[in-house]
Symmetry: C2
Amino acid sequence: MPNPHLPTALLASALLFALAPALSAQPALSSTPAKPRSMQQIIDESKPPDWRRIDPANTLVMELDAGRVVIELAPQIAPQHAENIRTLAREGFWNGLSINRSQDNFVVQWGDPAEDESKRKPLGSAKTKLPAEFERVRAKDAAFDVLPDADGWAPQVGFVEGFPAGRDPANGATWLAHCYGMVGAGRDIAADSSTGAELYVVTGQSPRQLDRNITTVGRVVEGIELLSTMPRGTGPLGFYEKREQRTPIRAIRLASELPERERPALEAMRTDTAAFTELVEARRNRRDDFYKRPAGHIDLCNVPLPVRVADAKTKGAK
Amino acid sequence: MPNPHLPTALLASALLFALAPALSAQPALSSTPAKPRSMQQIIDESKPPDWRRIDPANTLVMELDAGRVVIELAPQIAPQHAENIRTLAREGFWNGLSINRSQDNFVVQWGDPAEDESKRKPLGSAKTKLPAEFERVRAKDAAFDVLPDADGWAPQVGFVEGFPAGRDPANGATWLAHCYGMVGAGRDIAADSSTGAELYVVTGQSPRQLDRNITTVGRVVEGIELLSTMPRGTGPLGFYEKREQRTPIRAIRLASELPERERPALEAMRTDTAAFTELVEARRNRRDDFYKRPAGHIDLCNVPLPVRVADAKTKGAK
């Protein structure tokens, strides 16, 4: 089976003329402190408890002619939108719809291309009205894996079960951050006008000004490159002007409804482990020979969130 | 002539079902404070002194079969690399070379695809060794248009003649920031191993950890979408594995060497004006009806840097 698309930040970011990264020699003295592990070493040497299986009941699988895109939903923050999206997927709402917008350095968006409301596809059993779920007030002791680095947009940043998030410690309000690959629910002017039928993914510089202004519903965990390379639309906001420019969506299905052999079996690195903390530090201060000056800082949206194919042994039947 | 590619951030970022953004009614009372101008209004109502002509002697024009990419060089920070790049362009070094790498959420890179050093194209009159120009110590009174928003990567951020930059006020060290669209010079492990023959552009989340670690040479001001949509390479770091995957570069030329009718005539908004300060505030705190909570912050790499076709009247002969 094809390898899942690993987040590109997983690979060394060295910009080299040669295709092979240089390796530095390690001194043999036992009193020399070991060089900090690189991100790739941390991942390669990680243990099963450092990873969590992505739940198929929270996983959308989008089939395009070019391949598949896999999205993990975040019901912890937007439970009603997650449920509506599951319903829409179960009923095949998006099957035959299209990618309708690709705006450079911003988003790719998909759903019903019909401009005329009377021509729009009915939502089936899904709700036509949901509350805005821009943020969720969570208990002060609710799990939040803090990223200690300063952030200009939020009082505190970190991860909620693997999703990049902002938080207000004063009241526990928590929201997902619009990092690259994050998926949100398009809406009109009214705050409560999203249903999850119209979705977009961030494919450029993180538009963090959208945090707390729109319901975010999940993250692309595989296949983002199929969306990020979509030709840019020539209409306003990057909407496509001609029907033939809209890439058809063959289907969007819930992974739990797929036959097991078709189901993506992915795992994401947990964000509440010593391994992850070490990984973040390895990216905060790069110690490979390419970097001359470690940054001493990392932004929330620069933190890699590794995803890989789950261990074939634990998968069961192939 | 075709319109130059305006930065997409120039357009309203509203995510709507409908294609037409909603407009809110303005109350008629004269005592009501005027609604702050939107970015588009500021641009539409700007005056000629708010813009600066992009100097053709600092402008590269890359011709691909799909169209052209225009890059403004930044000799203020990397004068030796800028001069070497001008020499390479004048002598047609890149003509017939290719785009060799496209890594999702990171960079697109171009130059000589030959892996074997002995097969590399000679640099002609250009220098084969340049000093690293990662940053430049500038006089304390050198022009630097401060962006007052906190930044985790640099003690101070702002703009140097329109280029996003970091600065250390203690000693005047100034460097360009790796925002979307910024162009840098690929190098090997040695700090002084770039010549400008290998170039890359940022096409994903700003990799600010590269600031002060590599020589940045300029910014794409038109045509970024031709590069950001390049299919991702399947080799390590997004390098293409097969020759037929490498998009050919027909030519990279210096705009000042082109016949006037072929020369891009572009102007960029100045970053040292009241209009620009107002534009940044309009993006820092969005006041259109879509946004329910203005962010009160903006990151350096979220600040739009508008570019447009220069006034036909000032262009001279068409």
